[in-house]
Structure formats: structure tokens, C-alpha cells
Symmetry: C2
Subunit: 123 residues, 2 copies
DNA sequence: TCAACAATTAAATAATTGTTTAATCAAAAC
DNA sequence: GTTTTGATTAAACAATTATTTAATTGTTGA
């Protein structure tokens, strides 16, 4: 990250290890972007829901108990992060998770995290 | 989430599926909390770093190119989320990732997400 | 074409949160 | 004990972001 030496030199030279393992800006940005999306409870609930079924906006709003503009806002963010996709059928827009490695991985991760942070739930 | 019927009834009855799979408040809160921590690029970079070495605050600050108060702030958040632990040695406070299932899982997840969102990096 | 419904967008507000600067706390060296 | 160094805390500020309300777009059916 920085070419200069570190302020402190504690025996074990971590510097090489650090340089090797530290990810670049793009990698940091990509990962934190994905995380940020699911860091919002409303968005996480919506994404989790869409992992298990395809639904229209009004139904999603009813299920998560939010206004449709608010839901629409979150859907837009999730979509531009490539986590969900949409399809129009008549007046309704149906949303579901994207069929990508990213979305699948996030889903799997969420389920696992859920059972770790909340072991009492059936999981 | 809501006991009432959904506004729209599209053939496939998702309602049962939904009720079964939808996580409770506690589960949502736990997962989104963990995600939110790593949704901030600075915090992600620090956590990632601490997955590979134990370091003191000044060195962390130098590596990620931030002020020590800012780093300290993020360390406090990561610590109270149970992702990292600290140890004092003389004047220095050393931080490293916690030896828990949560921390290990997040580390693994980050590495994998990194290679998905940023395939060109060696990974 | 007009009315009704679903969804999105815009503007405004409220709330959260990351960073800075200055001050304080803790431990070691002199 | 005083000074120096590392780390944390507090207050202030800046910036981002989620939600609400109102207006608008798109699609269907009368």
C-alpha cells in the first residue's frame, strides 16, 4: 500500500506477507460493494426473500412491510449490483436473484452466516 | 412476516415457501450486522489485513494510510462485532482476527468474493 | 380515449456514519 | 515524577443514505 517502512518493527517481518496478501483497490471496492448491499437489513431481507421465490413489487412490499417506493429503491440498488434481475409481465415487474456465481455465493454465505450468528433458529 | 394475504395472487403459491424460508428478525439483524462491518472499504481492508498478520495500531494505520484515531474507531467496531481480538504488549495494542467460526467464515468468504468480483487479480 | 393499477422517479427530510482535530488515558523510559 | 510514545475518546463536521410524500411513467381493460 505504502512503499515506506512501517513505524514499528516487531521481530516477525510481516511486511512481505502483507504485501503479498493485501488486495488491490479494485478487489476491495468490489467486495465491500457487495457487502454493503447486504449490510442493510431491509435489503438483506429482500434479497433473502428473492433467493426463494420470484415476486412482484407490491407483494415484496407487503411481505417485508415497507412502502413500494422504498422497496423499489432497494431493488434498484440490488439490481445494479448484479444480485437480482427483473422481468415484466403485464403491469407487474417480477424480481428474482440473478443466476450468477456471485448471487449463489452470497445466498449460500447468508444461510451459513445466519446459522452461525443465530444457532437457535432451525437453520 | 405479515399474517394477511398478499395483494397479488399469482398461481404458484409462494406463500408457504416464503413463510418457511424467511428468517426471523434476530437472524436478519445478526447477518446484516456482520455484512455492514465489511461493507465499509476501510474496515474491510483492515479486517483482511488482520486475517494475515497481527499488528499494532500505528502499523495498521501506516499500511492502510489512515490516521490512528480513524483506525482505532474501526478496530473498535470490528472488535465489538466479534471479528477481531486485541492484546496489549507494553505500549502497543496488537490486533488480529478472532479465532472463531464467524471470523474464519468471513475471511474465506472475502477471499472467494474477491476472486469472483475481480477475476484478473491472481486470487 | 379514459380510468385503474403497478412501478418508478423526484424532491425533501431524517438519520446514520466516517473522518478530522484536539484532548485524554495508559505504559514505559529517562 | 516527568516526559515520551502509543492508543483511545470526544466533539464537530462532512458526507452518504434510507424513507416519506407527491408526481410521473407504463400497461391493461373498460
Amino acid at each position: 500500500m505504502n512503499e515506506k517502512k512501517l513505524p514499528h518493527d516487531h521481530g516477525h517481518n510481516n511486511e512481505e506477507k502483507i504485501r503479498k496478501h493485501l488486495p488491490g483497490e479494485a478487489e476491495i471496492a468490489g467486495v465491500s460493494e457487495a457487502m454493503k448491499q447486504l449490510g442493510d437489513p431491509s435489503r438483506l431481507r429482500i434479497f433473502w426473500l428473492l433467493c426463494h421465490c420470484e415476486e412482484c413489487v407490491l407483494n415484496i412490499a407487503a411481505i417485508v412491510n415497507m412502502s413500494s417506493p422504498a422497496v423499489s429503491h432497494h431493488l434498484r440498488l440490488l439490481k445494479s449490483s448484479g444480485m437480482i434481475v427483473s422481468r415484466r409481465d403485464g403491469k407487474e415487474m417480477y424480481y428474482r436473484t440473478a443466476d450468477t456465481e456471485l448471487a449463489q455465493m452470497l445466498h449460500h454465505m447468508i444461510e451459513k452466516l445466519g446459522s452461525i450468528t443465530c444457532p437457535e433458529e432451525d437453520a
